[in-house]
Symmetry: C2
Subunit: 438 residues, 2 copies
């Protein structure tokens, strides 16, 4: 029975997109949501006598929370508080999925297909589910460098995928051909996966409108050569600070643009709604919600969520819903963006001065978005040594990326402190350079 279901789902995926099926990993091919407890519990919803789910309730669908826990969320309506304490469906709370879809599709054409987002436990879990679906031993995964180190764990260490990379910046500019360049040595026809993370971590960069066109052209060319799944890691969606940069996810540009190219949108409330502790993320595919392929992919994602986590976090989903139901949501999100934009302007100015004064020590890479700025250090300097020196002698914490980059998370530093932070980085770099020569 499970075998039939798996075959049907795999066929639905292959029928809608041979490229997507060609890219499915062995684990991705064998997962399918089983006709197990959550499936049977869903079938029993609304029955007078319902003894399906192993959660402790009053017998009429309300939880029996311990008093101090209930008191903490006294700000929720009783019905919402109930849902806070009880299991979420494996694919997430229906209202949240619907509202997040609307949130994603603000100013997107109504014709653009997209599934109802599947809820994950934060954005990283979304990436991990996609890695389980499309990674696997030997699968080529392209990530522009420098990149967020956890991609390595999620795709390479866990599934055995092989990371290929090319520089995200060339001559102080974003490299729009980074993905075709990284795949140049891979035999045509071999399926591949690429991650596009814009605004980027650690770069703090989003493409300008003209770069966007160039980036898309390169991806479409690459799709002439092979089945290509493009993961749009939209963690920092909305956080852009320059007039020539659009907030639109690349997902909408790539959706339906080429038969051999399938974009997958991975996003979340973590940064978009400033809820880091909640772990609410989403996976969205470029298909109509009711299509067979959407249902098949949903079944696979549910199996992966169920097997690794049981179900996503109902508590956090209820908190996110409070924000999404609020009429003033866009305004509130804009307030947070404005706080970051001010820090961005201050940091940018401080870094431009350093670039003028000490170009031999460090070079700020272009940044215009998100939460970070990235500094490229002189070749004689080791980024982790500078990081440790900053910690020990300058009361300053930054993150080293590889051997030659330092990342400044301006999202967690007061605006007024940024110039002094930059001074300290410059000083520390100079001291290390002198010590290296001495």
């Amino acid at each position: 029975m499970m075998t039939d279901q798996i075959d049907t789902e795999n066929r639905a995926i292959g029928a809608a997109s041979p490229a997507l099926f060609a890219t499915l990993a062995p684990l991705g091919r064998r997962v399918s949501f089983p006709p197990d407890i959550p499936f049977q519990a869903a079938a029993a919803r609304g029955k007078t006598y319902n003894g399906t789910i192993g959660q402790i309730t009053d017998g009429a669908g309300s939880p029996l929370p311990l008093e101090p826990m209930a008191a903490a969320v006294a700000g929720l309506e009783p019905r919402d508080s109930d849902r806070f304490f009880l299991y979420s469906p494996v694919d997430g709370l229906p209202e949240l999925r619907q509202r997040w879809r609307e949130w994603q599709r603000r100013s997107v054409s109504p014709e653009a297909p997209s599934t109802l987002p599947l809820v994950t436990v934060g954005l990283t879990h979304g990436l991990s589910v996609v890695a389980d679906l499309f990674g696997g031993v030997g699968r080529k995964l392209v990530v522009p460098a420098p990149f967020w180190g956890n991609y390595r764990q999620t795709f390479a260490v866990r599934t055995g995928a092989e990371i290929l990379s090319a520089p995200a910046y060339l001559d102080g500019r974003y490299n729009c051909r980074v993905i075709p360049e990284a795949l140049a040595g891979v035999a045509p026809g071999e399926p591949a996966v690429a991650i596009v993370n814009l605004p980027s971590n650690p770069g703090g960069y989003a493409v300008t409108d003209s770069e966007r066109a160039e980036l898309i052209a390169g991806l479409l060319e690459e799709a002439d050569r092979r089945p290509l799944v493009v993961i749009c890691d939209d963690a920092y969606a909305g956080l852009v600070y320059e007039p020539d940069v659009s907030v639109r996810s690349l997902f909408w540009d790539l959706s339906g643009a080429h038969e051999q190219l399938v974009p997958i949108k991975v996003d979340g409330a973590t940064k978009e709604l400033s809820f880091f502790g909640g772990r609410v993320g989403f996976i969205t595919f470029p298909f109509d919600p009711e299509s067979d392929v959407a249902q098949a992919l949903e079944s696979k994602v549910k199996c992966l969520t169920r097997s690794a986590l049981g179900s996503p976090v109902a508590a956090s989903q209820m908190i996110v819903l409070q924000a999404l139901r609020d009429e003033r949501i866009e305004e509130r999100v804009e307030q947070v963006r404005r706080v970051l934009e001010k820090r961005y302007r201050t940091l940018r100015k401080a870094l431009e001065e350093v670039a003028r004064e000490a170009p031999e020590l460090l070079r700020p890479l272009p940044f215009n978005a998100g939460c970070f700025a990235l500094l490229e250090l002189a070749e004689s300097l080791d980024a982790d040594a500078v990081r440790r020196h900053l910690l020990e002698d300058h009361d300053t914490g930054l993150v080293s990326i590889g051997s030659s980059h330092l990342r400044i998370a301006f999202c967690s530093v007061k605006r007024a402190a940024l110039p002094e932070l930059v001074q300290r980085v410059t000083r520390a770099a100079r001291e290390m350079a002198v010590a290296a020569k001495g």
Copy 2:
């Protein structure tokens, strides 16, 4: 550098327990917490200028939550509310780990070693981490049958482990030799993993004190033959209803009992604190918190959590802390247990009547604990067909387990409704039996 770290950790595990190292899966051997952003952020804690973490704050360590979300948790102290919205450490909030350890160790001898519990995203995630560590292609995993179907997804579908089973009940009694029986055909010396889930799902059974001694003796014998990791799935800890059944986890009995046997405790707030929507679980190893082996295992678990989920849910952890800090916590948990005990007595009585009146149709298996009762149906009946018939014609939802068992979740049914629910099951089974003959 990572290679050195991995080697050091694997050696620490091998030195403390060759059996545990022998049972480590390939993925378990290659994971180790990388010196990546969370590692570097931990090093920078307390610095005046801290630009390490990509979470949006006011620059002084407090979050910038959207107003409707903050309002929902107005019942939290400001400092707790801050932590609700910000990232948790990958291993969990230190206060929660400490308090859960105290909670686990009530009436446990102070000498019994146990690590500081590692926080997971619900109990299933704890199982999944253990599956990643000790599962893998071809690894034999013993689960007494009938069992919770999700073990299959977590261990077999995801990691390629091979499930072996033997009957959990023989002649209407719990089968204390179930694990050695299931492993009888496996070559001596081959490492294996066993799951012990007491109180059980779907059985609703916990061993009596005399059965416990027999079960332990069988496990120790098996450990004479092979390295054996025993996963104590303590989801339903504390929910026992008979005087001859102890609440003590088997973990404490097995810890240190045999050189070749390593118990791992997987538990959580889901059922123990009645917080299903929160996804707060824990993994605990039988070693001193500061030992090298504890540190090595912690590094591996953190790598698995980081790569699949980023970090556990801070929001839910803060809610769980509200309960654990409460002086009346034991009393409050006892209140929930008493609600379930009353339902248990009512259901037990109703099932005893059925057993007398319709022994040819269904037989209740022994139950005395947890959230469930399990019915074994007559051979002529198909459990899933009876389930569907109950749904369609009797307004009643239950879960079918395999082809011959139905599970009643009395934890989610009102006490007063249980006799009628049992009547309906009996009626449905009778109708199906008549139809089968007809």
